[in-house]
Amino acid sequence: MSPNLLYSTEEQDLRASVRDLLTDRCPPERVLELCEEGGTGDPALWHTLATQLGATSLNVPDELGGQGASVREVAVVAEELGRFVAPVPFLGSAVLATSALLGCRAGEHRDAVLAEVAAGNRTATLVVPLSSCVGGSFPTAVRAREGRLSGSVRTVAEGAGADCLIVPAGGAEGPELYVVDATESGVTVDAVTSFDITRPVSDVDLEDVAGVRIAGPDLAATVLEDAVRTGAGVLASEQVGVAEWCLDSTVEYLKQRYQFGRALASYQALKHRLADLWYELVVARAAARYAADQLATAGDDAPVAVGVAQSLCARVARHAAEECVQLHGGIGMTWEHPAHLYLKRAKADEIALGSPSAHHGVLGPLVDLHPAP
């Protein structure tokens, strides 16, 4: 069956709900205020997203309290959250950690944690550097010995505020995945200053901490790879949302602002740059939708689709944000205008879950394009 690259009616409804909520609760002034407070984002908004819109349980099976929807819907939410650079731990908890949990075999502990995270009662994160890319070797910065974990991982997405940590660890017989309660003794989560002020990062240190194993060497590497791939695929949709806001707000600004007696929007050099951005957004959206669809249907082409989407959308969002700042002129350089929130998000997203060139390197061999010797 041909993949559906459009937004379904249900997806459009979901988008409208999320957008309504964010328009109301997450205007740029509010985002800036929250980021200045330096906390863990907007817990109340996060709670509403989870409980009222079910945004944290979209692709979780019905029997665990989820919506039984798919990554397509998750991507739609990510797109809207990107459009508002909403400071909520969606990527860390509802995408990366949830994907990892979904990949593990059913089991008492996994099911319980997944249900809690899906319900929005707990927030989780996947303890890998946010810059991790598919195709890397399994991380062994944390070592597991007889169910106890030690080691440090830097620059983890949205770690501060997480109630439970999904931790890849090198065990005696190979890769393993653990769930660790953030309140366990020996767990230190240090919020560090994030370049993307709308998405906090943390350094996680574990010293002889008790964890519950949810995947062993037969499965852990695949689960982690799939989770990171899903994260990258969903991030592409977030990037589409970021790029779209940047284009829209720049168009609006240029229409209102006059220079030398003419609307800035009437200057052809600017018009052509905006037209080019619009072109980029058209192809980025198609790529992101395809990635979401392939992930949703566990399609054979998912690795290719994600590589295409992530490497392209990362560049498009960053380019859109840079143009947004430039074309806003001086006002775009000020702290009080929201353009910088998008610039920081877009630039960080270009590094997050694999840079474009890293994705090119993974993608090439999948389509029989091998690097030069």
């Binding site: 041909s2 559906n4 690259l5 459009l6 168009v251 240029l254 229409k255 609307a263 929007a265 009437s266 052809q268 018009k271 052509h272 905006l274 037209a275 080019d276 619009w278 072109y279 058209v282 192809v283 980025a284 959206r285 198609a286 790529a287 939708r289 395809y290 590589g307 295409v308 989407a309 490497s311 392209l312 560049r315 474009p356 060139s357 090119h360 390197g361 993608l363 090439g364 389509v367 029989d368 394009l369 690097p371 030069a372 010797p373």
Partner: protein, 402 residues
């Protein structure tokens, strides 16, 4: 064609399928002469089913044409070689249908569709490309017809054509958009001279057409005098429909050619060009997906403005990819196959050698609307930015700077 078809046939897929089978039963493609078969098909209303009865159609939904085509193809029937007569089918016919007199429709459409008469388009001029409304080819009224003088350019098929659709200026004192009329020009007229127009590839895909007092009877005018621009809009709209839209497999275009070159490990393949190749491959794949998405939008009845993105991206990528390919080839990229002047039967952007592809791709951002004009259209019609200032709308054409 004595009685109305609609009385006898249901205009749904089943009805058309059975009508096609009936037609085939009485016109066996294996034993019928090709021309005869095509004329019969036209008369049976199976040429273009959405055209009116008596003009090759049945007034059926356009979407049902594939049903008929599939039946005919399965039966081994000859087609009308649409790639050879694209301008007639895609541009002249809809315009004749929309603006022609009954006599014009009856006279022109049948041989146009069967391919017995090839059509070409005399629109662009050396001084009127993107700004088509500034055409200067002059048609002057003489008795019951017109004498036409001027130069047209970028005309494909002109050397094979029997007829041309022609945009000419009939009133130089009127503002540019209001002083043009639209004609059907007889390409066998002694005042018409066709010369091959050689391109940077060495080939002559197109022609220049010189009109020197060419005679056009007034009965070959389409639309009213002075209404040429409006008539031409119909022609151009149909041209745009024809571009893009066809589904492509991955690596279906220039990206596949260059990827294959890479796979052969050419001299210039290094780590730096690998990343450039991958970035372009990715964009080509995304553009392909955008085309697919556009098709899905159309199918869902909500066409978007993404068509202009497709053309912009296609031009960009074919240029970047073919440029990269020459670098990949290194020494081989310094050689060409053949500069001699040829007149290709068909044009294949991904054909011949890398050098040809590189040069031919330069035309992709010029022909059928330059990338600059497309960016204006996107900025103004899609993003709603103000239109460019222009000073040519209300001034008599003859007074415009040129």
């Amino acid at each position: 064609m004595s009685e109305s078809v609609a009385d006898t046939v249901e205009l749904d897929a089943e009805g058309l399928r059975s009508r096609t089978r009936e037609f085939l039963a009485s016109n066996d493609p294996a034993t019928t002469d090709r021309g005869e078969f095509l004329r019969a098909r036209f008369d049976a209303g199976l040429a273009w089913v959405h055209y009116p009865e008596g003009l090759g159609g049945l007034g059926a939904p356009r979407a049902l044409q594939p049903v008929v085509d599939a039946e005919l193809e399965a039966a081994g029937a000859p087609d009308n070689e649409p790639s050879r007569i694209g301008i007639g089918l895609g541009m002249a016919a809809p315009t004749i249908l929309a603006f022609g007199t009954e006599e014009q429709k009856q006279g022109f459409l049948r041989p146009l569709w069967t391919g017995e008469e090839v059509w070409c388009q005399l629109f662009s001029e050396p001084g009127a490309g993107s700004d088509l409304a500034s055409v200067g080819t002059r048609a002057e009224r003489k008795g019951d017809g017109w004498r036409v003088t001027g130069q047209k350019v970028w005309t494909s098929s002109a050397h094979n054509a029997r007829w041309a659709i022609l945009l000419a200026r009939t009133d130089p004192d009127a503002p540019k958009h209001k002083g043009m009329s639209y004609f059907v020009c007889d390409m066998t007229d002694p005042g018409v001279e066709v010369r091959p127009l050689r391109q940077i590839t060495g080939e002559a895909e197109f022609n220049e057409v010189f009109l020197s007092d060419a005679w056009i009877p007034d009965s070959n005018r389409l639309g009213e005098v002075g209404e040429g621009w409006r008539v031409a809009q119909t022609t151009l709209m149909n041209e745009r429909v024809a571009i893009g839209g066809r589904p492509m497999p991955r690596e279906g275009g220039m990206s596949g050619v260059v990827a294959d070159t890479w796979r052969k490990r050419p001299e210039g393949a290094d780590a730096a060009t690998y990343d450039r190749l991958m970035a372009l491959w990715v964009e080509a794949e995304a553009l392909r997906l955008a085309g697919k998405r556009l098709g899905q939008q159309l199918a869902a009845g909500s066409p978007g403005p993404e068509g202009s993105a497709m053309k912009l991206g296609f031009a960009r990528l074919s240029q970047e990819l073919s440029g990269l390919e020459l670098e990949l080839l290194g020494q081989e990229g310094l050689r060409y196959d053949d500069w001699s002047l040829r007149r290709p039967e068909t044009v294949n952007f991904t054909g011949r050698t890398a050098g040809y592809r590189y040069l031919r791709a330069k035309g992709n951002s010029i022909e059928g609307g330059t990338s600059e004009v497309l960016r204006n259209i996107i900025a103004e019609r899609v993003l709603g930015l103000p239109a460019e200032a222009r000073a040519d709308k209300d001034v008599p054409w003859k007074d415009l700077p040129r």
